[in-house]
Symmetry: D2
Subunit: 347 residues, 4 copies
Amino acid sequence: MADPAQPIGPDGPRARVVVAGATGYAGALAAQLVWNHPSLELAEITSRTEAGTRLNEIYPRYDVPLALKELQVADLEDVEVGIVAYPHAAAAPVVAEMRGMGMVVVDLSADFRLDDIPTYEEYYGGHSEPELLDGAVYGLPEIEREAVKQSSLIANPGCYPTASILALAPLAEAGLIEDVVIDAKSGVSGAGRSGGEATGFTHVTENVFPYKPAGHRHRPEILEKLNKLAPEGSKRIETFTFVPHLVPVDQGELVSCYVKTAAGLTQEDLDSMYEARYADEPFVTVRNSPPGMRDVRGTNQCHIQALAGDDRIIVFGAIDNLWKGSASQAIQNLNLTLGLDEGMGIS
Amino acid sequence: MADPAQPIGPDGPRARVVVAGATGYAGALAAQLVWNHPSLELAEITSRTEAGTRLNEIYPRYDVPLALKELQVADLEDVEVGIVAYPHAAAAPVVAEMRGMGMVVVDLSADFRLDDIPTYEEYYGGHSEPELLDGAVYGLPEIEREAVKQSSLIANPGCYPTASILALAPLAEAGLIEDVVIDAKSGVSGAGRSGGEATGFTHVTENVFPYKPAGHRHRPEILEKLNKLAPEGSKRIETFTFVPHLVPVDQGELVSCYVKTAAGLTQEDLDSMYEARYADEPFVTVRNSPPGMRDVRGTNQCHIQALAGDDRIIVFGAIDNLWKGSASQAIQNLNLTLGLDEGMGIS
Amino acid sequence: MADPAQPIGPDGPRARVVVAGATGYAGALAAQLVWNHPSLELAEITSRTEAGTRLNEIYPRYDVPLALKELQVADLEDVEVGIVAYPHAAAAPVVAEMRGMGMVVVDLSADFRLDDIPTYEEYYGGHSEPELLDGAVYGLPEIEREAVKQSSLIANPGCYPTASILALAPLAEAGLIEDVVIDAKSGVSGAGRSGGEATGFTHVTENVFPYKPAGHRHRPEILEKLNKLAPEGSKRIETFTFVPHLVPVDQGELVSCYVKTAAGLTQEDLDSMYEARYADEPFVTVRNSPPGMRDVRGTNQCHIQALAGDDRIIVFGAIDNLWKGSASQAIQNLNLTLGLDEGMGIS
Amino acid sequence: MADPAQPIGPDGPRARVVVAGATGYAGALAAQLVWNHPSLELAEITSRTEAGTRLNEIYPRYDVPLALKELQVADLEDVEVGIVAYPHAAAAPVVAEMRGMGMVVVDLSADFRLDDIPTYEEYYGGHSEPELLDGAVYGLPEIEREAVKQSSLIANPGCYPTASILALAPLAEAGLIEDVVIDAKSGVSGAGRSGGEATGFTHVTENVFPYKPAGHRHRPEILEKLNKLAPEGSKRIETFTFVPHLVPVDQGELVSCYVKTAAGLTQEDLDSMYEARYADEPFVTVRNSPPGMRDVRGTNQCHIQALAGDDRIIVFGAIDNLWKGSASQAIQNLNLTLGLDEGMGIS
C-alpha cells in the first residue's frame, strides 16, 4: 500500500494500478490512460483469454507495451488500485478479492451501481457480494464528488446513466421532473468488443435501429438515481421511458431528453438553472447550440443544451461512451479518491 | 394530353413526363424511376443551373442519358405530367403554369401541403398561388388513396411527415393520441444536394446531432394531418414535440414516436390495430422486431413496429427518405392518379 | 427437367432454381434476384445452420418469404438449376451431386475456377471432384460468353478477378501487359457474413488497411486468366503484384491497375482500344472520368477508365462486389446458359 | 523576440505564437496543439473571413476560447513564431512579412517546399517570394532534423509526401529504387474545409474513387525529395507513378508503395534496413503487420510495414493527415527549431 507519509502525487510515488480485463474497449482505454498518467503507474494488465500478448499488438493505436497476464489477485501485494473491467456478475468476486487485499477499486461493471438488490437480480441474476454494496459509491463525480473522495469502492456508471443523469440533474434536483422520455443514440463500441453479427460493419453502416426498446436494464438505474436527486417531499418521476438506438458511429453517445413539468420554465429559467449548476464543473459544458457526438469524442467532457421546446423541455447531453461514459470517468474517480487533481491525465 | 379513348397502361401509350429540377437528389431519383417505368415516358428533364449536361454525367449511378434543359412550360404541349422538384416557394408558380396547361402535377415541395395559409406563411413566407390549394390533395396514398385518384394536383409529403403519419395513423384514427414526442433521425441526403459545411463528410461522420430542435417547419404539418385523422368529437393532440437529428447515413429515416394515451392498450391491442390497419397496404410492413433504416433502403416500403413499452406506447417507423419519403412516393401517387397499378415501377 | 419442347422464357415455364447456402451475403442476394426474376422460380433455399427461418427474417431488406431448409439434393428432382453459395472446398461435392441429377449449376465458390489443380490445392487444400473441372466454364460472360452458353457447370468468378480481368482484358488480349500492380480496395461484405472482430464496425470505421498483402489466393487466378487472354506467341506477364485493402464500405470494389508495356500507347490509343472492346457489352461502361464504387452499387455494371498516366498506363475498374462480383453475375450466367435475355432480372 | 539569455522551455518564458488561418482544419488543430503546449503560448489566431468568432464556437471539440482576428503582421511585435495555414500562393507574402519581422515561421502551404521554381510555377502559378526559398528547410524531421534546428523558415510537408517519403526513405537512401507506384488513400479532411459537393457526406459515404489520377501536384515534390535522398552516383528513379484516392474516412492517410529494384532483397534484409533506419525515431514505428489508418489517428505517428511481396517490394505507410501530415508535424518542427524536446505537446 502507498506510504501515507509520502502522499501520492506529482512529487510523491505513483500509485500502482492493475487493470483487470484490459482487452475490452473500456479496459484497454483505461490501461492507456493509466499508462500516460503522471501520478499512476500501470503495474499490471490482465486478460482471461489473451494472456501473453502485448496490449499494443491488440490495439496498435495505444502505446502500452506490457504483456497481458492472467489475473492472480493474491499476487498483487504491492498494487494499491484495481480497475475492474469485467462483465456484469463476473466482476463482483474480483472486486471482493481486491477489497480484501486493501486495494482501492473502481468497478466498471453494473455490479455495485444499484442500491436495490432485487432490481439488480431481476436484470443481472444473483449477486455474489451483496455485503459490499453498502460501502460502494456511485461514481458520477458531478453528483457524488464528496462521497467518491471518501470511498474505496467506486461503482463507475456506464454511458447511458452518465449522459442521462448529467443532462437531467438540474431539473431532478429541483424536483421538477414528472414525466420524461429519454431517446438515446449510442455508438457501436458501447456494445463491447465481442461483437457478433449485430455489430458487424455491414449490419451497422447506413443503418440506425432501436435495440431492446422495452425493459432495457439501464432504465431502473437511471430512474433510481434521478429520484434520489429529488428534494425530500417532492414528487417522484411518474412516467419514464428509455429507448436506446444504435447509430453508425464508433465512439459517442447522445441522449435527447423530453421532460414534462408543471412548472412553466422559460428559456431564461433553464439557462440560469443549468449555468448555475455546472458553472464550476470542469467536465460539463452548458451550450446554447445543439451538441454533437464529435464535439466530445476522445474527451471526458459532457456537452449539454437545455431548451424550452415545443410543448416540452428538451435537454440534449453528449459524451464519448468509452471516455466519460466509462474509462476516463474511472480515472476522474480515481483522481478524487487518491487526492489528486481531478482532471489529471484526462484533460 | 393523353387520348382518353386510349388509356395509359402497359398496352396503351406511355404518359409523357417532365421532371422539373432533376439535378437535386429527389428530382434525379424521380427521373430515374420514370426512365425505367413501363407506362411512363421521360419526355424532358430540366435544371435551372446545369442545362446542357446529361443526367448520367452528374449521377453516374443512374442511367438516364438525357441532357438537362431550361424549363419552358409553354413548350410542353405534348407532355401530360409534371413532377416538380423545386425548392419551397419556387415551386408554386411552376405548378400553376403546368396546371394552366392541363398537366397532372406532383409537387415535391411544401407549397401545397398545408391547408392553413397563415401557418404556411409563418414558416415559408408568402404563398403565390393560394387559389390552387383547394384542389390539391395531400399525397400520402395510405391515407388519401381515393382523393389522390381523383386529383390533378398532388402535394407529395416529405420524409418526416410520411414516416410519422404512417407510424401513428392507427392510433390517430382511433382518437387515442393525447401527447406525443417524435424523435426523428434522418440521413444526410434529406438536407439536399446544395450541402455546405454542415453536410460535409468531416462534419457528419462519427457524429449525431439535433438540428432545429425547436420550431421545425414540419411540426405543424404533421400535427395538422394527425389531427385531421381523429374521429369527429375526439380530443385533439394536446402536447406535441418533434425533434429531428442528423445521423451519418446517406439515405434513411427513422422516427421513434412516444405516445401517451388514456386507453390502456396492451401489446395484443396494438398488434391487432396495426395489423388490421395495414393488412392490405403493399408498402407498409408491420413487424414485431425493431425496424432499421437499412431494411427499407432503396425501396418504397415503410416498416413499422408498435410496442407497449415502459410507461408509454412506442412506435418506430423506418423509410428511405429519398424513396418513400419523396421520389418513389411521387411515382406511387402518379400511378394512382393515372389509373395504373399502384406499385408499377417502384416494386 | 425443363421440357425441351417448351423452352424456358417469358412465355414458357419458369426454370426452377435452388439456392444452396442462401444465408450468406451472396447466396441471399442470389435468392432475392431469382425471386424477382421473370423466367426463374425460386423453388427452394437452403442453409446448413438456419433451416426453419424465413429469409426475410434474416434479411428484412429482401422480400423472400420462403423458409430455409436443409439441403437434400436427392429430393430436388423437379429442380433444374442449382446456385451453390458454399465455402470453398465444401461446394465441390454439392456441385457434383447436383450435376449427377442433371442440374445446371452455377458455383459461387473457387472450386472450379482454376484450370491448374496443383495451384488450387496450394491455396485451398485437396480437390474432391477434379474430374468435373474439364467441363466447367469460367463464368465471366464478357470473356467467355459462348462457352457459358454451352455449359452446364459455371464457375462464377469472385469480385477481385471480375474487376481486375475486365479492367485489363483489352490490354491482355493485345498481349501488351508485361508488368502490372493491382491495388484493390474492397468493401466489407466481401469478407462474408461470418464476420468476427476484423469486420466489426469499430475496427473498420475510419480505417483503411491492407490484408493478406502477399500471397493472396486470388493472385494466381487473375494471373492465369490474364495470361490465357494473350495471343499465341506473345509474352506472358512477368511481374505481377496484387494487394487487397479493406475500406469502410459495405458493398463495393475498386481496382487500380498500374501497367507497364513496351508499346507507347497514347490516351487516344487507349480510348479506342477500350471503346471498341466494350462497345457491345451491356454491363461494361467505359468512362473518361474516375469511376467510384457508388456509381455501380446495387448494379451488375463494371465502370472502367483507362488512362495514359505518369510513366504508366493506369486502369480503374469499379463493381459492386456482391452483384457483378458475385450474385448478379451468377444470374447473368444463368440467363446465358438457359437461353434467356442476358440482362433479364438484373438490369 | 525571445530573450536569448532566458531560453524558451518549461522553466523559461513561453514562445508566443500566432496561427494565421486558424479556421481551416490544419490551422485549427495547430492552434489547439499550441494552446495545450507547455512551452508555447497562443498569442493570436487569425482568419480572413471569420474574425470576431471564437475558435471553440466553430470547433466545439477544441477548447481554444480565443476570438479570431484579422491578420495584421505589423502589429505582432511581441510574437516570436508564426504558423501560416494559408492556401498555396496566398501564404508566401505572409511568410515574407513575418520573416521581415524576425519571426520564426512554419508554413503549412506548398510555397517553400519545392527547390525547383519552374516546377512550382507549373503547378501553383507564379511565386511571389523566390528569394526566400534558399533559406527554407523542408520540414520532415526524420529526414532533415539538423537543418530544421538551424532554420527560421520551415516548409512543412503535406500528408502525401510525409507518408510516401517516410515509407520509402530507407530504400531511397540506399539508392535502390528504380521504379515505384504509390497508390495513396486519403481521408476527406485532406481536401480542406471549404468542401463542396465532392466532399459532401452523400458523395463520399459508401464510395472510394481516384482523384486527379494523372499529373497530381504532389508527384514532383515526392520525386524531387526521394531523388535527393539517393547517394551520389546512384541511379535516379526512372518510373514514378502517384495516384491518390478518396476514402470515406475523416482523418487518415495510407500509402501503398510498390517498388522494383535490381537488388534481390529478402524479408530479412528489409527488416534490418527499416529497423536500423528508424530505431531512434520516436514518431516512426516499424511493424510486421499491416498498418491501418485507425492505428495512428490523432497522433504524430507514422506506422510502416515493408514486405518482400509477390514480384515486388511493398511498403505501407500510415499517418493521420491532419496530425503528422500537417499540424502536429508543424509543432514537431517548432520544437526542434526552438530547442525544445521534439515531442513536447504532441506525444
